[in-house]
Symmetry: C2
Subunit: 259 residues, 2 copies
């Protein structure tokens, strides 16, 4: 569960700029900062932000990602915000003449990361109410469309940024997922387990000798439904061992099986 | 860009319940509703929600997904909220004894959808401040960990729900991505294009006969960097045609090439 420290991949994420065009709500801007920090991004530009934007809300929603908010660049236009970017990827939820050649965030992530190894890439998101205008889409070398339900296509601004940033972070392979510390148990170890359970189930009187093979098929099936690690098998062997000890004790008592 | 109407896949999404345990902020609950609607989910449960929760904030952030908020189930405990669920998947950002066997949202999506074809599945998210407790994790048959940066692991609640819901929606294949209407141009069509450009570039005097083959290698390379559709090739043929017409006109004028 550690991140790798690959400097090339880290540089690629550093070269990706999130551009919010004419954002309206400070809370969304702050939520975007937090999403960026969660996914290893840090370069934020606001192009033509509404003068009424509430930066106190933004700071509140940014939580521990306030530095991204403080270090953002403010530009008057989209053209200024993306002038140094080789790839300008515009997010769009709608269809239309200008929007036919859109790709999914997953499909375009490798292309973005490849370009970002050497140059700047902008990911551009329109305002909360209407998205990017056709004039703004002309600046975009590529379009990205986030998969969403026909019944409600329009995502919250920070949710749209989060999905794109998440796909880039996953594609960067900087995140190393959790690994089971105990390996999956090999066949011979599982066979020893089944032999111990068979003995235990006979000794407690759960099954008779002539039914044992049939019953054990059911037990084998239950324990084969998911992966069993060596740790899992050791727990189950311990249960069999203790069950057999208990059966021996019971046989020695009045009213016990063997009395 | 249409969603498919596969009834089995739609039923699977209908069988997935988002459970928020002890949520604190109404705004987050509303944002979760919107994220769910965006990704085709509709079953929301709040387990032990804070009495102080601001449902006006929730309604505001839910936007057009208010019906999910209204139709939610409120339970006192997590146990009640998941009692009818075959798979209970708990989201966790932290490590520890109880959290080793976590999977990524992408890795566990197929398993969730498979179970959800016949039974209920719960996706469980802890409160904004501390996540799920160890006692609550005991109810979870599986754990999911969202990839995030070592520098800032903790996601906003609605962002965490959005990423899980997005992975399920993508895995359901209910979303059919945009398709280029024009197919990629076949070789013979591209060769006709290059022949027309060669003629035009000779006629405007951009290159001499003996350099033509070499220059055309550069032109071929430029037009081969990305896919060219048949529509693209028709535009580029039109440019060559008009260029040749223009060159002919220039030759007839005083001061023109041919004069």
């Amino acid at each position: 569960m550690e991140s790798s420290c690959d400097p090339v991949k880290t540089r690629a994420l550093n070269n990706i700029r999130i551009v919010l065009v004419r954002p309206i709500y400070g809370g969304n801007v702050g939520s975007v900062c937090r999403a960026m920090a969660n996914m290893g991004l840090s370069d934020l530009a606001l192009a033509g932000a509404a003068p009424s934007i509430d930066f106190q809300d933004a700071r509140k929603m940014a939580c521990w990602a306030g530095s991204i908010l403080e270090q953002r660049r403010d530009t008057a236009t989209l053209a200024e915000a993306v002038s140094d970017c080789a790839v300008v990827m515009g997010a769009t939820a709608r269809l239309g003449l200008y929007r036919q050649h859109s790709q999914s965030p997953r499909a375009c992530a490798p292309r973005i990361l490849e370009t970002a190894q050497t140059g700047k890439v902008a990911l551009v998101f329109g305002p909360e109410d209407n998205g990017l205008s056709n004039e703004e889409l002309e600046f975009c070398t590529h379009l990205v469309q986030i998969p969403s339900s026909d019944n409600y296509r329009s995502l919250n601004l920070s949710h749209a940024v989060m999905i794109c940033a998440y796909e880039l972070f996953v594609a960067s392979e900087l995140f190393v997922p959790a690994q089971e510390k105990s390996p999956e148990a090999p066949s011979a170890m599982k066979e020893r387990l089944f032999a111990m359970w068979e003995q235990a189930l006979l000794e407690i009187g759960f099954m008779e000798d002539d039914k044992a093979q049939h019953m054990m098929l059911g037990v084998r099936r239950i324990f084969s439904r998911g992966q069993l690690t060596e740790d899992d098998v050791r727990i189950l062997m311990g249960i069999a061992r203790q069950t057999r000890w208990c059966a021996t004790q019971a046989q020695g008592r009045p009213g016990g099986q063997g009395s």
